[in-house]
């Protein structure tokens, strides 16, 4: 899994390439929590190149989501592939997270004032 970060105004866009699973999720969690602790609590994760999410991966996403919200921000997903979307839906994530078609829309949603 590869992770890269880009700041767009107050929003940090994280691009993940590969699989978010029990073998990789720890690194992603460390990276994102470091950003939150640095005061960046508006996070968008670009899922366009995420091809797999396991239960351990989902637990990591949940932990990061809770951390951003505790810090007064939010955690949003963009460009989720159909297979991964299905897992998110069955696990209840689509009912607690905001999902967008692309990163531009996700970033704009924060700028539109709905960033909690």
């Amino acid at each position: 899994m590869e992770v890269s970060l880009t700041d767009v105004g107050d929003v940090t866009v994280t691009t993940v390439v590969g699989s978010i699973d029990g073998l990789t999720a720890g690194g992603l969690q460390d990276t994102l929590e470091a950003r939150i602790h640095a005061g960046r609590n508006q996070l968008v994760v670009d899922f366009a190149a995420v091809d797999y999410t396991s239960s351990a991966g989902l637990r990591t996403l949940l932990a990061v989501m809770k951390e951003t919200r505790r810090a007064g921000g939010d955690f949003r997903l963009a460009a989720v592939r159909p297979d991964v979307h299905r897992v998110l839906e069955l696990s209840g994530f689509t009912s607690i997270l905001k999902l967008f078609a692309g990163t531009d829309e996700a970033v704009a949603s924060f700028q539109a004032g709905s960033g909690r």
Partner: protein
């Protein structure tokens, strides 16, 4: 019993009538990869396949058995007395056991398939779930005759009457959890491979039967998601979820589609295989090191 990779691996087969044959596609893939299973959990029709796998049958012979066992004839024998009781319960006394079809044929076929095999005699530890009609609680059957446990687990509401077992009236396992991952968690499984199925929604609700089926499907699907979400987030290791996507509609007794269902199950399993393989290889290395 722990397989060579050092982790306890469980297979959980959810409810889904003929769709449950997808588990055989999964079994084929696991066998080819040499991935052993330490315990099997089955619910509703999934309990039939779970019992076959636990008893040591190969996928081909299980598919043959399923073709003979699960046919439309099972529901062809109407239980007229039960129907009368459903309508005139106060006059005739229903005993709380509404079931519009006789269960003699399914019991006979289950006896042919499993004989007097006991759950505690299966090669791989087996757990079958049903639901207590009195209070809705999940009932985990881990001893006694396989035939009785399966019959209890497939007590499809309104079709087969509840089954008396161990002093309780048991109904279909899906009523308490269509994908009982919790049993594998409770039994100490690390990696849980779960194959689940959403119920199809009805296209029209113009009969009482279709309306009732739609209500049941809505409840079952929401229950599946709620329970899976909880188990997924609370398990200490991995739950590998396999949800076969069927392009063709597969109805309750479309037994002639078993080959297609197996193929879809195998395809869905192949998608999960790269991660499963990496996960177990890494764990083998940890055990070895």
């Amino acid at each position: 019993m722990t397989t060579r990779h050092g982790k306890k691996v469980a297979l959980v087969l959810g409810s889904g009538s003929v769709k449950c044959a997808a588990a055989l596609g999964l079994q084929n893939v696991l066998q080819r990869e040499g991935i052993g299973i330490d315990l099997v959990v089955g619910c509703s029709a999934g309990s039939i396949y779970a019992a076959m796998i636990a008893a040591g049958h190969d996928p081909a012979s299980t598919a043959d058995t399923a073709r003979r066992l699960w046919t439309r004839e099972l529901t062809s024998q109407r239980d007229h007395l039960a129907m009368l009781r459903a309508l005139l319960g106060r006059l005739l006394g229903s005993g709380g056991t509404f079931g519009m079809r006789k269960d003699g044929l399914i019991l006979d076929r289950l006896r042919v398939a499993f004989g007097d095999l006991a759950i505690e005699e299966t090669r791989i530890p087996l757990f079958i779930t049903a639901t207590d009609l009195a209070n809705g609680e999940q009932v985990i059957l881990s001893s006694g005759r396989v035939v009785d446990a399966i019959r209890a687990s497939i007590s499809i509401p309104y079709i087969f009457k509840p089954f008396k077992h161990g002093g309780r009236l048991l109904i279909d396992g899906f009523m308490s959890d269509p994908l009982p991952i919790n049993v594998a968690m409770e039994e100490g499984a690390d990696v849980i491979i779960a194959i689940g199925f959403e119920s199809d929604h009805q296209k029209r609700f113009n009969t009482l039967g279709a309306y009732s089926a739609q209500l049941t499907a809505i409840m079952a699907n929401n229950l599946l998601k709620a329970r899976f979400a909880f188990h997924n987030l609370t398990h200490h290791s991995e739950v590998i979820l396999i949800v076969p996507e069927f392009e063709q509609r597969v109805r309750l007794f479309d037994t002639e589609k078993i080959d297609y269902v197996i193929e879809v199950g195998a395809r869905a399993a192949e998608k999960q295989l790269p991660y499963l393989r990496r996960l177990l290889e890494l764990e083998a290395a940890e055990v070895g090191g």
